[in-house]
């Protein structure tokens, strides 16, 4: 049996091979690309998140920002002990409004709150805070 007799079928088979090869090539490139794109996007998201975290928690100006806390109440009500990376502050005789101000400021500072203690004595509040950065 001669292949020449099946020339038409051979032409179609060759075209079919190209068709299947083309599809397979596209499919492999597509799936590989999707996976690669997913990895790259994930890496970008991780790097962005890391930089954002570093900006928040590794902020070099945090020490200056912490000083703002001292000025939020009258100087006579604050006992302030600050070292390079640590703060121990005691606020005494605060009103409820002042407590709210102090706590809100502490919460907004990019510091690790090691301990926060609030106690009410009569109508006044005593706030003690230890934090580091």
């Amino acid at each position: 049996m001669s292949l020449k007799g099946y020339q038409n079928e051979l032409i179609v088979a060759a075209a079919l091979l190209l068709f299947a090869g083309g599809w397979l090539y596209k499919y492999q490139k597509q799936t590989g690309e999707i996976e690669h794109a997913r990895e790259v996007r994930q890496e970008l998201a991780e790097v962005k998140q890391l930089i954002a975290l570093k900006k928040i928690w590794g902020e070099p100006k945090t020490a200056k920002k912490v000083d703002m806390l001292q000025k939020s109440v009258a100087p006579g009500k604050v006992t302030w002990q600050k070292s390079a990376k640590k703060l121990h502050a005691v606020f005494a005789g605060l009103s409820a409004r002042e407590v709210n101000t102090v706590v809100t400021k502490i919460l907004n500072l990019p510091v690790q709150i090691k301990q926060l203690e609030i106690n009410k004595n009569g109508n006044a509040y005593h706030v003690e805070c230890t934090c580091k950065w």
């Binding site: 007799g5 690790q112 609030i118």
Partner: protein, 294 residues
Amino acid sequence: MAPQRLEGAVNVMLTPQFYTLKRESLPVKYTYQAKKIAPSLFDGLLDEDGEYAYYVQKSDDGWEFIAYDLDKIKQFLHQKGIPAEKIGKLFFAQQAAEQIDAPVSLGESQALVNLNGTVTIVPKSALDQTVQFAKPDVSWTPKRGIAAGGSGGSLLTARQAYALAGVLVLFGLMWIAEGTRYGGDVKREQGEIARLLEAYPALQSSYTRKSVAEKYQKLDRQERRKRDVIKALSKMIFKGVTLTSLKIDDKRFGATFSTADKSVAQKLKLLAKKEKFNTADIKGSSDIRIEGQL
């Protein structure tokens, strides 16, 4: 013609007894147009019991139409040991008119000659005794030929095969083209990563990134949790509720609220439950203790 014993496929050039030639000068430009009118040109010239196909080619002064009965040709060739599947292409001697400038011997008594552009068979006796017969040039074949349609059990005609192959090739090429386009989609992201790492060289090593991420993610999670707890506790201060103490450190928190009456205390407990905090009544008072782990 003597019976043949063939190993492979062959092309066959048909002598004029297998076809009918007609020349016409027609005002048509393309072969397909000429082919359409070919049957009408042979009206009354061909055997009525034959099934004819037509081959058309342009000549210097018009068109040459060739009518042939493929079944009869195949039948003849089959009898001579050339089955349809061994036939590559069929050509007509008329197609080689320009190549036949000297008579070509066909067996003992006949010769193929070119008479004014028409290839025909004449008895050798009609030729000059001194004539030199040319040997056919088997290395040359006309550009176009006809396929012995249906030969070898082929299921597709050439037209069907080419149409189908065309569509398949088109799709194949489209997919290849589409496949080559992939690869540029994340270049923007890769560029952004490179820019960020350039700005923060300390993060270029993946090990460093991992350890820095572990440190800051843990810190961020813990500090956010502390702040969320304090905010949740502050929302529990409403009319009739007073915060009397609060203590929070890295591991746990606890707060004591004094309440005006039992209904307020109940509402406070509900709020604490909603936040999944533990609650406890303080004996001898309407105070509520709320605490939990961080």
